[in-house]
Symmetry: C2
Subunit: 296 residues, 2 copies
Amino acid sequence: MNGHASQNNRSGSPSAPSPGSSWRVVPTRTIAVGDTEFAYRSYGHPGGVPVVFLHHLAANLDNWDPRVIDGIAAGHHVIAFDNRGVGASGGTTPDTIEAMAADAIAFIDAMGLTEVDLLGFSMGGFIAQVVVAERPELIRRVILAGTGPAGGAGIDKVTRVSYSDSIKAALTGKDPKQNLFFTRSANGKSQAKAFITRLKERTENRDKAVTVTTFRTQLRAIHKWGTQPPADLGTITHPVLVANGEDDRMVPTSNSHDLVERLPNATLRIYQDAGHGGIFQEHRQLVATAVEFLDS
Amino acid sequence: MNGHASQNNRSGSPSAPSPGSSWRVVPTRTIAVGDTEFAYRSYGHPGGVPVVFLHHLAANLDNWDPRVIDGIAAGHHVIAFDNRGVGASGGTTPDTIEAMAADAIAFIDAMGLTEVDLLGFSMGGFIAQVVVAERPELIRRVILAGTGPAGGAGIDKVTRVSYSDSIKAALTGKDPKQNLFFTRSANGKSQAKAFITRLKERTENRDKAVTVTTFRTQLRAIHKWGTQPPADLGTITHPVLVANGEDDRMVPTSNSHDLVERLPNATLRIYQDAGHGGIFQEHRQLVATAVEFLDS
């Protein structure tokens, strides 16, 4: 795969990493996926198997923690994209995780990639599970963070919690991620502020905000995922790293334990005094663990 | 009334204005209204008929534009309060405008006031209409801003617009009032920023944020107001000043025209390139007009 990626880089192929090593400045590019232009950013260490990042509910490209994505990009080719209907990508967001996974596969194919690693956070982790089940040969390794299996405990409550916390955020002038992603301890509050500040490090060429329509459609997809019958995860024999905070209000942490019990080749990392955004809060540990996992 | 208010001032009665002339620093006090402590701020020019401010959906004391309230307090005794269940006030927010009006009357009575002027903005304007109809002898003059009559056109859509814009604000990291209160013109956007900055001028001893439960209950009350049969406004013979922006997305401006047609003694002021927050945007004009109206 190294040869393929290097060749892409030399030939200016769509997947080739943009020069520069910082998420703060990596340019946003677009690629036609069928009739639809998808926005993406490709950067980091050229060669090797690219790591494709799959984003969370309400997220656009600017929602990736610079410490996490730069940390992995230091030694890996990293590609993040806005799925259909999200941020600067065209099209209409579909209302099922399965259709979002089909769009993610179409993007990876359009990029000319034949083997990738996945890092899926929250809703992105739902999508990653479907991608790897649908196209096992396309995927080498998977990182599932702050996420859970289809039908997982409490995922049907994401809609209520997301709406309620978004209204609360509007009433208090705060970012909803403060309460949705972090614990209410003094450490959690301080970590939330640091994370939200990091998300603003990129000041130029920021992505378009997710629309209310896309947000609502994503919530419908998440609700269906949370209420549908469990999938057979035993068929996914890929190495999987599962990570989360110990106190996740959105996708309860029991789902992470459930995933490692049911995935044949999975490892678990749980962070103390951390919530849904545990991998962002504990970015140093996460990056070290992820790099070791991807390189092993 | 001057003598009465002066006496209150000398005796340290609950209604007496706190020393100092700036909304930025006026202390928040509490008074028992029945079994419930209501939070309020009383300041401004001692003597005369006090002007009682009635707040909008989702608002606490800190949502009054310092320019508007200081502008009126320069020559008038001004009292603003959090109604039941709002901000720092105790109790549970009722789900009808009529019950909110009963609470407002109970507050005015508890303050020992026997004649007041009212300034009601948006939901506060709904409440003001009920207060003046229920207790006409208690009220001298009324300012109705960004508001409309029971059953008024489009008021039933406040719930949808408020939820949608609150979610949008959470997704974009903006204050929902930017789109709810101002036009989308360059001037409107600039005025929105200036207003939102003014609301942060008070940095110490700020009020408690409105809870999600209170917000939802207020929306139910507003929805009922918007769908109930029209009241006979012909019985309200008090002088009334009606003011709004020309392009109000929340309580459509046609409601202001409707009010002045049906109130026997009403005057209208409509501000150009302004929305629901027209009286805040055009605070210089509003204060000049309001002071002239209150003193006439």
